[in-house]
Amino acid sequence: MLSAILVPYGIFVIKKDESETDETQSIENLTKNIVYFKKFDEEDIPSIMYELRQDANEKKAELKQALIEEITELKNKEAEESEESEEAEGIEPIDIAVEELETISFEASKIRPENDAMRSVMYELGLEYGVFEDLEDDFLNKMNEWTVQYTKMMMKRSSQAKDKLIVQTVNALDNLDETLNLFSERLREWYSLYFPEMDNIVKKQDAYVQLVSEYGFRENYTRTRLKEEMPQNLARTLSLAAKKSMGAEISEVDLQIIKSLANEIHNLYKYREELQAYLEVSMTEVAPNLTKIAGPSIGARLISLAGGMDRLSILPGSTIQVIGAEKALFAHLRERADSPKHGIIFQHPYIQGATGWTRGKISRAIACKMSIAIKADMSGNYIADTLSEQIDKKVADIKVKFPKPPVKKKSKRPQGKGRPSRPGKPGAGKPQRRDGRNDDRRRDDKKRDGRRDSRVDGRRDDRDSRDNRGKDNKGRRDGRNDDRRNEKSSKPTRDGKSRDSKPNNANKGGKAGKGEKRKVERVVIGKTSSKINK
């Protein structure tokens, strides 16, 4: 009876006598019974360990086949040689009949007596068979290297499967935001028939939704009850508005169906939170380095936009810096994310918080570290702490080195394109917009303006633009084109942007660039158009 026993460095083939019972399978018997030893190529050892973990049966079948072929070939050679010379020097014949080979049992790791005995001498045999030079240095060094390699492969594998899940999660979040906006808007319009004043008072979407689902009838908006959930003055305003509302009266049935919608939306908001939390956990697991440096949202979006971790890991920092410039446009059109400037890493708090003239430098530095981080994630190293230290240092260096904006040559651009961050400068702000400049310029200004307003009513534009999508709008849907254009206006816009926008809140920012439409809209819809989504 033949059995094969796997050890990390090879396979032992054991021939057991019929007479030997399990009880007599002592260590001495075991070593005596070894009829063949196949040593693995040392380079292959980690991947063999790894494949055995992935699909043990398949790998064993493969190893068994290779073993049978190897022994058969050797037997054939043996036969040839013994015909030529009676005694093949130094080579002991293999004590295996070729017919026996097929029956070889290959259960690597069940508790079988011979396997158990093998575990007592597993590495001593390695020494005996010349795999290790000694059982201290050489054995330890080799095993350490093999197990480290193998474990890294295992981790890489667990990441690879998971980065697909992350991509899906990011996509689901995007869809969800789109849906949430759509339904929240519907709810606002619908409920405004009954309680129009609230639209202006409660600007935050999820708060609005929750109020409708919990309160419903205007009579319920009492100050005492509201006070529990919101600041005093807001509670006061809202309860007063409820009392004096100019909205139409509706029946219980009418209200009920509106409340149901609010409930559904509320649940979706809860699900969104769950998704976001899941994304964070998964990201830390799959790409701990990238997550530490980029944060879960930006990290996940980078993976998603690059099309997976492996793709992302081969990109240089300079590419990572601009990833998402095109796609972000669609996200921006769809879900009111910040308009694309230089790819999504610009949502990084360090870059957001930087002064305009250091932004480029800082984002280059960070993108470069992100590229190192994702490579480390792929190879299973954990270097995030070192990396983030380096980033902190680098950012501090840049800030010290460039404390002031560079002295610029007088801008050739028309007045009004200057930095809006310097308040009071002529050319920034609303009045300028109306002064009848050429089209192009106006759009830029609008964009900036729109950004501020976007928190207010971007969504209406969204819907609006869908209805009135003209030539101009179509052009804007072309990522590349738009990207370039944004680039031009990027500085003022970025500067004008609020600093606190966290990456995952980005979608709450407004869609910019539709100033023209908005103005029309504002006239038509009036007050309902200015709600703050913040």
């Binding site: 790791s109 575990r119 350490n144 197990t147 474990t151 981790m155 190293n381 954990y382």
Partner: protein
């Protein structure tokens, strides 16, 4: 001047002259910290101070462990390696003998691998201690199994692994966290029950250490395996 006394094989009492009772192990990889521990140099030997607040084995030694089963030259199977705090000290003690360290959370494994690189007798294995067959063709028979997995079935896990990997007469060491077995039950009852499971399944318990105040409701049991 710091004074050093060998308390157990390769486990040292470090007296830094401030009256605080400290233990430590000789650094296998000089100048490398694993978990922010203090490094002390005495007579050209570097010791890593073993922080009992971060290592239950360290705490047990300070709290009066009678005998230390892990010695220079012991082969060890370590279940629940986490980021490598205790395993690194265990590897220091075993010195030129292998420590097979199993951990099943990939995220933590990543950090653990850091500690393994360069620490040549520490072998990381990503696997589930509930499924010894996942690593049965890698791990040999060992002298000591140390388990710290904080799972409800930790006693069973020890027994299962002992059947596969523990030499007859070898030691099983297990850190039991009452709360991870049952949050509602009185810790004492839990400890008694876990002890009984081990005794009925081939372990003779020879030492039990309460590791308060370092950890609340934690016990370390040491048992001798009589094979089964």
């Amino acid at each position: 001047m710091a004074k050093v006394k060998e308390k157990f094989d390769n486990v040292f009492e470090l007296d830094l002259g401030d009256g605080i009772e400290r233990i430590g192990t000789k650094s296998l990889v000089p100048n490398k910290r694993v978990y922010g521990e203090k490094l002390v140099n005495v007579k050209n030997t570097e010791y890593r101070v073993w922080n009992p607040n971060k290592s239950k084995l360290g705490a047990s030694i300070i709290n009066g462990l009678k005998e230390m089963p892990i010695k220079k030259g012991s082969k060890v199977l370590y279940l629940g390696a986490s980021a490598g705090t205790t395993p690194s000290h265990v590897a220091d003690i075993a010195e030129d003998s292998p420590v097979y360290a199993v951990e099943f959370a990939p995220r933590i494994m990543r950090e653990f691998i850091e500690s393994c690189e360069g620490r040549k007798n520490l072998f990381p294995i990503l696997g589930d201690a509930n499924k010894p067959d996942e690593y049965a063709n890698i791990v040999e028979k060992v002298d000591v199994i140390f388990e710290d997995v904080a799972q409800p079935n930790q006693a069973e896990i020890l027994i299962k692994n002992a059947k596969w990997f523990l030499k007859e007469g070898g030691y099983g060491m297990i850190s039991i966290k009452a709360r991870s077995v049952d949050v509602t039950e009185n810790p004492r009852v839990i400890f008694e029950a876990q002890k009984e499971i081990m005794e009925q399944n081939g372990f003779k318990i020879v030492d039990a250490i309460n590791i308060e105040p370092f950890e609340k409701d934690h016990m370390l049991f040491v048992g001798i395996w009589n094979g089964q």
